[in-house]
């Protein structure tokens, strides 16, 4: 029912109607909207004018974009938000009563409605719809903190970054090329064999002279009835448009659109080095778990797997940008990396006759073993086998070395500590592993404890999983029997304290390589990982994933549900920060690491980080209590 409100003049009514086109105003009652409109003022901002600078004090008004676009940028100048008609800012700062973290400026000439802060709070109290809309966004930040803050904007930026990277990143194979004199029959046969859409005609020096695409063949060869012994130069498109491999992907897109072409030869110093097709570019947008999984499964050529590893990274970035939570995201990264590793192992082992008849299992260790891989991850793996002759063991090592190098080519650097299946120390029989584990458990030296923390997270990846499962069962019994070992593990874990300071918010690293940072892995995530491992060993759980270990151990340890949930939220927030940090680094083409400067976080995330580190302390307190440390 619409009732006419006598006080509303035509301007008020028109403003109400305009606001109503957007959420949450569309759901709000007429009298609440009138109340709102009567408190609004309208301001104009010329392009580039700053609407709201980052500040220490809470903003005095809510902005609602009336017309135009407003951009929000971080202190470093990265644009993280694009706000259009009907969108509001800075909600977080107003709700939390803190200064705005971002700098808001007009991306185009813009008109905004302004609502004084006091009226904003009054409206929150007045309108349940408005309240819900504003607070639910923030609640997700404050409480569960698993969503990327600027999800949709990050996604847009991510697309942007994909189109701004060099075309070289799309080159997956050496290009198909032919000399000008090549008879059509040979060129077309090569085209079919290579399953590509075009052949580039190049001179002996590799300089592109022309191009012939499958589409051209229909009109210029088949319908024209050209004999197949004709040289390709007679029917090719001469002087094709080319691009440097260093040019951004976007250039290719523009060129294709402008010239109506679908293939562009790529050159370096004038010489052909690749071809990019429209399909290659649009494939960038169609990354999916299923797509990558099936591409990996179909791949017969280990040389093509590194490109798929890049796709995994791209997918992870895009899922991160879409706001996927860290628990699922690290699980997806890990399982796609599993598929990739399995494929490499299959390709390398199937062809290897020396491995025939052997029972072996490839073990994933460390973060891969826990299914918690982030974007920066080196190799941690090992092999277990039943019985093998000296020659067979050598064959296993040689096979493992090939796999390790293939993995390296796929962007999983060789482990600097040598914890790899190709290391004879970590390619052991089942009884060899039991002896090794026994030694670590009994010895309890710092090295033993460190090894235990890596190896005891093992998980079968491919091969005969029973070998690994038996070893797990044996290990659980051995560890449970040895309280002294668990006690030492706990003591060792507690030496690594979360960096919460008394004076400042955080204790920052005085390490010269990474000044003023927090190591999110060592000081953030590891306390949870270590505690979960000890809880799992103590309770005989065979889980290796930190969250699952905590969940499995909670009943036996009588950890209240709420506390368990807080621990897992905190752990996943730290993992999310690591992923976001690494994502940002990779976008800037820096090798990803775990060293975060907390000053780069917005105040809200800083608060959550502090809370997460406090939870890490609580987990440690629980560990200290259990082991009377």
């Amino acid at each position: 029912m619409t009732h006419i409100i006598p006080l509303a003049n035509s301007l008020h009514r028109a403003t109400i109607d305009a606001l109503r086109r957007q959420a949450p105003f569309s759901a709000m009652a007429e009298d609440e909207l009138l109340w709102l409109v009567q408190r609004l003022s309208v301001a104009y901002f010329a392009r580039d004018a700053v609407l709201l600078p980052p500040a220490d004090t809470p903003p005095d008004a809510l902005f609602i974009v009336k017309q135009g676009t407003v951009a929000g940028a971080t202190a470093e100048g990265h644009t993280v938000l694009q706000l259009a008609t009907g969108e509001m800012f800075p909600l977080g700062a107003l709700l939390a009563g803190r200064g705005a973290a971002n700098r808001y400026s007009a991306a185009t000439d813009a008109f905004c409605y302004l609502l004084p802060a006091a009226d904003f709070h009054a409206l929150l109290a007045k309108s349940p719809e408005f309240h819900d809309f504003c607070t639910r966004r923030i609640a997700s930040l404050l409480e569960e903190s698993q969503r990327a803050v600027q999800s949709e904007y990050a996604l847009a930026l991510d697309d942007e970054s994909r189109f701004s990277r060099p075309l070289e990143s799309l080159v997956r194979r050496t290009p198909l090329s032919a000399l000008p004199a090549t008879p059509l029959v040979d060129a077309l046969a090569a085209l079919v064999a290579a399953r590509v859409g075009s052949v580039v005609v190049a001179d002996a020096a590799g300089q592109p002279l022309g191009i012939l695409t499958l589409k051209d063949v229909l009109a210029r060869v088949t319908l024209a009835g050209v004999p197949l012994d004709t040289p390709i130069s007679a029917v090719m498109t001469p002087d094709p448009a080319t691009l440097s491999v260093d040019a951004p992907v976007a250039d290719a897109l523009v060129l294709m659109a402008r010239q109506g072409i679908h293939h562009i030869p790529l050159v370096r110093e004038g010489k052909l080095v690749g071809v990019v097709s429209e399909k290659d570019i649009f494939a960038l947008r169609r990354l999916s778990v299923e797509g990558i999984t099936s591409a990996i499964a179909r791949s017969e050529d280990p040389a093509r797997l590194p490109a798929l590893a890049l796709d995994i990274g791209d997918l992870a970035h895009s899922l991160l940008a879409q706001g996927m939570d860290a628990e699922n995201l690290t699980a997806i990264i890990s399982s796609l990396n599993d598929r990739l590793t399995e494929r490499i192992i299959a390709l390398e082992s199937e062809a290897d006759a020396a491995l025939a008849g052997l029972r072996w299992c490839w073990l994933a260790l460390g973060s891969e073993g826990r299914m918690e891989q982030t974007l920066a991850t080196d190799q941690d793996n090992a092999l277990i086998f039943t019985e093998a002759s000296e020659a067979q063991r050598d064959a296993l090592l040689a096979f493992a070395l090939r796999v390790n190098h293939r993995l390296d080519a796929c962007g999983f650097p060789l482990c600097r500590g040598g914890i790899m299946a190709s290391n004879p120390k970590w390619c052991l029989s089942a009884s060899g592993w039991q002896q090794q584990f026994t030694q670590w458990i009994d010895h309890g030296s710092p090295d033993s404890l460190l090894n235990a923390s890596i190896f005891f997270d093992f998980r079968p990846l491919t091969g005969d999983a029973a070998l690994a499962l038996d070893l797990r069962a044996w290990l659980n019994r051995a560890a449970q029997k040895n309280q002294r070992f668990l006690h030492q593990m706990a003591g060792n874990a507690l030496r690594n304290r979360p960096p919460l300071g008394l004076v400042r918010d955080f204790v920052l690293s005085d390490d010269n390589a990474h000044p003023r940072t927090i190591d999110l892995k060592l000081n953030g995530a590891t306390p949870f990982v270590d505690a979960a491992r000890i809880f799992a060993l103590a309770s005989g759980s065979s889980q290796t994933n930190t969250a699952k270990r905590l969940r499995a151990a909670a009943p036996a340890l009588r950890i209240p549900d709420a506390e368990l949930a807080d621990w897992n939220r905190a752990f996943h927030f730290l993992q999310l920060l690591r992923l976001r940090h690494q994502h940002e680094q990779q976008r800037m083409r820096i090798a990803p690491d775990n060293h975060l400067d907390p000053d780069t976080l917005n105040p809200l995330d800083r608060r959550i980080l502090k809370e997460a580190l406090r939870q890490a302390r609580k987990v440690q307190a629980r560990l200290a209590l259990d082991y009377q440390l």
Binding site: S10, L11, V37, V42, A43, A46, L114
Partner: protein
Amino acid sequence: MIWPFARPALPPLDAASSARRVALARQEVDLKRPLADMRWCVVDVETGGLDAARDPLLAIGAVAIERGRIVLDASLEVGLTQAQSTAAANILIHGIGGSEQRAGLAPHEALLDWLEFSRGAPRVAFHAAFDQTVLQRAVRAQLGLAIDAPWFDAAVVAPLLFPDAAPHCRHLDDWLAHFGIAVYARHGALADAYATAELWLILLQAAQRDNIATAHQLRGLLRARRWLSVH
């Protein structure tokens, strides 16, 4: 100042209206405050025709700009009751039907509302001479007042600050289109006044960009320009 006109006789005012009228007789407008701090009153009138000297005033729409922002709450939209409906021709332009013309406030009350709303503020309109003439005539006829408030014409200021756009922009619609300003109901007095106010916000920014700090300076510049174009 109250002008002692003998003819035509002023309509009789009740006590309340008289008091309001007396309070409005004097007003000061300070043009030397910074542009950003000024209060402006942006106005548009609807009349029974295009003859400012004769055709009746039908409606007044006005919005206030305070500290560089249009204040939505403070907006004026009044219709003036008419003794008889005006010609059909103008109804086509303004869309005010005969019955609507007879609704609204008594003219003297509408004009008191207008004077109270605009009090102390320089007036802004597009083709301001027309609105100025109509309003001054009505105020004098109904209230016997001659208010000497400064008027600014957006149609003159806009070409001064945006000379590049000026050759393509003559009418209000041209300027609104140039700046992408939408009008929710063109030819409604308040809608046009509001659209003019958005235009005025842009012009105020541009003036400050050009180091014009006060309304006084802006007026000086306009006079110099007029002088240049006349001579």
